[in-house]
Symmetry: C2
Subunit: 319 residues, 2 copies
DNA sequence: ATAGATGATGAAACCCGTTTCATATCAAGC
DNA sequence: GCTTGATATGAAACGGGTTTCATCATCTAT
């Protein structure tokens, strides 16, 4: 493989000059520039990028930490991130964690070892305190509702989402409203719980612990929701479902479980994933792609920033 | 940042010895090993991985080229790849191409620049001849039915899939059978077309160019299929649909288009994606995750190999 | 007792760029 | 004629590891 030295010799200039040509620095005479360019063409020279990385101390590599690749929520965010990455000349390194702590740590370690210029964390199990130890090595940005001094973040207001969706259901006459989530101790579970309890209080409704269903993320998880629903002697008349996958599953499986949506049970989803439109799901649209783009911008920026995105309630046929 | 030199000084040994400790090479006395390990702990030393890459000429980075992130077909393959990557200590760099040629080229360029140890191509638009120019820089493996000398590959026999699905429909009494694909000039379109025409010939059925529907990849593409279906004065009584997303869309939207599945139109899908089970889709299961794992193994291996995977026809309710 | 294998160690070469710094040339301004 | 600033260029330092090679000390088998 030809390296920059060979190139310099062949062009009859110093390696410095070659480097200047490669990096489009000024102060190279036309004559030498042409010589170097010809040498590059003749040899088919290409920089050894690892040497460039070592020398420059950066890699244009951004780590993306996310639990699952096969869920539309994360897929949409990832599409936003990757389109913006293309725009900004960045390349993505993926860390599908399955919520395993070592996979998250791996991303942080690579940041520390300078293999990554920054890390985008779309969802996590690692405590914030651990992340804080790593900001010194490079920007870490979060896809979560959190206004930390240390990290930029991108988020939607989950309290508002819950409040709006719940009030909407209330206005349609529902008084027994349950909700489904994936993780009980996820980063947004608290906010949601608070919004839910505030809603109940506001309307003097009583709290029923059975009305919170967890483990609901994928289409097929809707079956478990139905099954649990069947065990209740006073099942909710409406469900706020924090993933359209699950909400769509409820709609699709309703008949099999002898439920009618929205008659027996109204359903309001979240995200406005493609399937939502297909099954006519009332849902709250979150601009996931735009949020992904913003995440990429933030990880490249030195400013701390907290970007909030607005949501839209999409009324369709399941409430 | 402490580097290996500082470490050597602090431990009172040579950098060579430190390197040996770091890389678990033999021939280091217990005493010195302990000294070095203590120095590492005290300083919190971590290798600059870019220096390691430059020195070793490899990065443990594998490029994955795929058109879309938000389709279950590729998501499943990617999950297989990434689980095996974790197993083998490899990290993935993603190239979501949207079938843009420059994105595919970017992966190849990074291979050539030694930033990637190998490239997995799940689907492509670049001609094979271009890929061949790059095998000299590192292993390139393909997710496609092709027995090339230059590349390892992982595949299912699309001819067999088509043949089995078509014969199955034939056995159920169907004589007007159409099929849907995404790209007319995709890597497998030929094979499928051949299988289709051979099937027609075998049963002395006539070829109808309107029976091939393209542009069908996502759930919502099913609507276009229905619309085109409506324009035919002799619509097919059965469809072989090469993505469960589309097949599920057909089932979900059937009512709206005044079609009954399977009565008016039988549907057989492909891949056995999660949604297939949810909507009771008859489909052909492809072991995508296992294939992804194999792809990762192949890209790490120096042997050329062509791995064929078996498929299973899953009979449910749409035929 | 001795050849030959095995263990232990460090100097130096190597991987391959970028960037700083010193130096030189040339033209414009006074 | 002289200072000053812009242009042009290359030597050398720097980023930070790994690996080869030479050397020396032990141990084992004959």
């Amino acid at each position: 493989m030809t390296n920059i030295k060979d190139l310099a010799k062949r062009a009859g200039v110093s390696v410095t000059t070659v480097s200047r040509v490669l990096n489009q620095h000024p102060y190279v005479s036309e004559a030498k520039r042409i010589k170097v360019e010809r040498a590059i063409e003749e040899t088919g020279y290409l920089q050894n990028i690892n040497a460039v990385h070592l020398s420059k101390g950066k890699t244009n590599l951004i780590g993306v930490v996310l639990p699952f690749l096969d869920h539309p929520y994360f897929a949409q965010v990832l599409i936003g991130i990757s389109e913006q990455a293309k725009e900004k000349g960045q390349t993505l390194v993926l860390f599908p964690t399955n919520y395993e702590i070592e996979k998250e740590q791996q991303a942080l370690r690579m940041l520390r070892q300078k293999q990554l210029d920054g890390v985008i964390i779309c969802s996590r199990v690692l405590p914030l305190s651990v992340l804080e130890d790593y900001v010194q090595y490079g920007p870490i940005v979060l896809l979560e509702q959190r206004q930390s001094e240390q990290f930029s973040s991108v988020f939607v207001d989950h309290k508002e989402i819950f409040t709006r969706a719940l009030e909407y259901l209330y206005k349609q006459g529902h008084r027994d409203i349950g909700y489904t989530i994936y993780r009980r101790n996820g980063t947004h579970s608290n906010v949601r719980d608070e919004a839910y309890r505030a809603f109940l209080e506001r309307h003097q409704l009583s709290f029923n612990p059975d009305y919170c269903f967890d483990g609901a993320l994928y289409l097929e998880d809707s079956k478990a929701v139905f099954e649990k629903l069947k065990t209740l002697n006073r099942p909710p008349t409406a469900l706020l479902v924090t993933s359209d996958q699950v909400a769509a599953g409820l709609v699709i499986h309703a008949e099999a479980f002898n439920v009618s949506v929205p008659k027996t049970c109204a359903v309001i989803g979240l995200n406005d994933e493609p399937i939502a439109k297909a099954v006519n799901l009332t849902t709250v649209r979150i601009p996931l792609k735009a949020m992904g783009e913003k995440l990429l911008d933030q990880v490249l920026s030195s400013e701390r920033e907290h970007a909030s995105f607005d949501v839209i309630l999409i009324e369709r046929q399941t409430v």
